[in-house]
Amino acid sequence: MANPVEQFRIEPLVPLEVGGVNLSFTNSALVMVLSICLVTVFLTMSVRGRALVPGRWQSVAEVLYEFVANMIRDNVGAKGRKYFPFIFTLFMFVLFGNMLGMIPYVFTYTSHIIVTFGLAIVVFIGVTIIGFMTHGLHYLRMFFPHGAPLATAIILVPIELISYCSRPFSLAIRLFANMTVGHIILKVMAGFVVALGVFGIVPMAFLGGVTVLEFGIALLQAYVFTILSCIYLHDAIHMH
C-alpha cells in the first residue's frame, strides 16, 4: 500500500541555493504559480466581454466577486471596502489551492502548515498595523475588557494578549489540518480499494462520498479563512 503521507512531500524541481538558503523551485511553488496564473487568466478572460447580460464564465466571476464583496460589507462594513483587493486575492488563492489539490497528482499547497501560517501571519500583522494606524495607542485598550476592575488587569491582560496572538495559529492550523486530514483519508481509503480486491467496492463507494465531502470542505475552508480575516479586520477598524 502506498504511503498515505507521501503525497505531501516537497520535491525541488529546480534546485537553487543562494547564500546557504535553499530557494529551490519546488512542486509546491509550481502549483502556487499555476493557481495564480489560473486565477488571473480566469478572471481577465471571463470579464473581457463586459457583457451587460453575463455569459456562463462572466457569471461565475461575478458570483465570486459579489460573494467576497458581500462578505466584506456584512462583516467589516463600508470602511472595509478598500481592503477588498487583498481579501479577494486571499480568497481566490486559498480556494484555488484547495480545489487544485482535489485533482489527482496535483500537490495541495494548503496542506503545508508553513503556507497557511504564512498567509495567516500576513493577515495578523496587517490587521495589527491597521488597528494601530486607525486608533493609535488606544488600540492597546483592546487587551483590557471594558468594565473589569483595574486590579484584575495583571491577569487579564496577558490572557487577552495570548488570545490575540493565538489567532494566526488557529487560523493556520484549521486550514492545514482540514486539507491534510482529508487527503490522508482519501489515500487510505484508496489503499483499501486495492487491498480488498472484489470487496473493494465498499470503500470505493465510500470514497465517492468522501470526495464530494472534500470538495465541500475545500470550498468551506476557503470561506472560513476569508471570513475570519474579515472579522479580525472588523475588530481592528471598529474597536470603539
Binding site: 457583457a51 455569459g55 491577569i155 496577558p158 495559529f169 489540518a177
Partner: protein, 120 residues
C-alpha cells in the same frame, strides 16, 4: 453573445427588478446574527478543538521564549502555560457563544447586546 443594442426602457425595468430582488434578500438576511454562519456542528467542534490547542501552544511558546531570554528556565513557562490554557478556554467560550474571535470579551458582549437593542 447579446451584441444588439438593448432597449433602454427594458434596461430600466431590469434595473428596478434587480433592486427589488436585492432589497428582498437583504431583508431576509438581516435577521441572522453575524456569527450565525459559523458553519456546521462539525465545523464548530473542530474550531473549538483548534482554539483550545492553539491557546495553550502559544502560551507555552511565549513562556519558553521569555525563559530563554531572561534565564528563568522553568518558571515563566509554567506560568504562561496556565495563562495560555485560560486564553484557550476563553477562545472556546467565545467560539461557542458565537461572539466571534474578537479580543476583549466585554467589548464583544457589549456589541452583541448593542446589536440586540439596536433592533433587527
Amino acid at each position: 453573445m447579446t451584441d444588439e443594442p438593448l432597449d433602454p426602457s427594458r434596461l430600466d425595468d431590469l434595473d428596478a427588478r434587480l433592486r427589488a430582488a436585492r432589497a428582498q434578500t437583504s431583508v431576509e438576511t438581516e435577521g441572522q446574527s453575524r456569527g450565525g454562519n459559523a458553519g456546521t456542528g462539525m465545523g464548530l467542534g473542530f474550531r473549538i478543538a483548534v482554539e483550545l490547542v492553539a491557546g495553550i501552544a502559544v502560551g507555552t511558546l511565549i513562556g519558553y521564549a521569555l525563559d530563554g531570554w531572561l534565564g528563568t528556565r522553568p518558571l515563566l513557562m509554567v506560568v504562561f502555560f496556565f495563562l495560555g490554557a485560560a486564553a484557550g478556554v476563553l477562545n472556546v467560550y467565545r467560539a461557542a457563544k458565537g461572539l466571534d474571535d474578537s479580543v476583549g470579551l466585554g467589548q464583544a458582549t457589549r456589541r452583541r447586546d448593542g446589536d440586540l437593542t439596536n433592533g433587527s
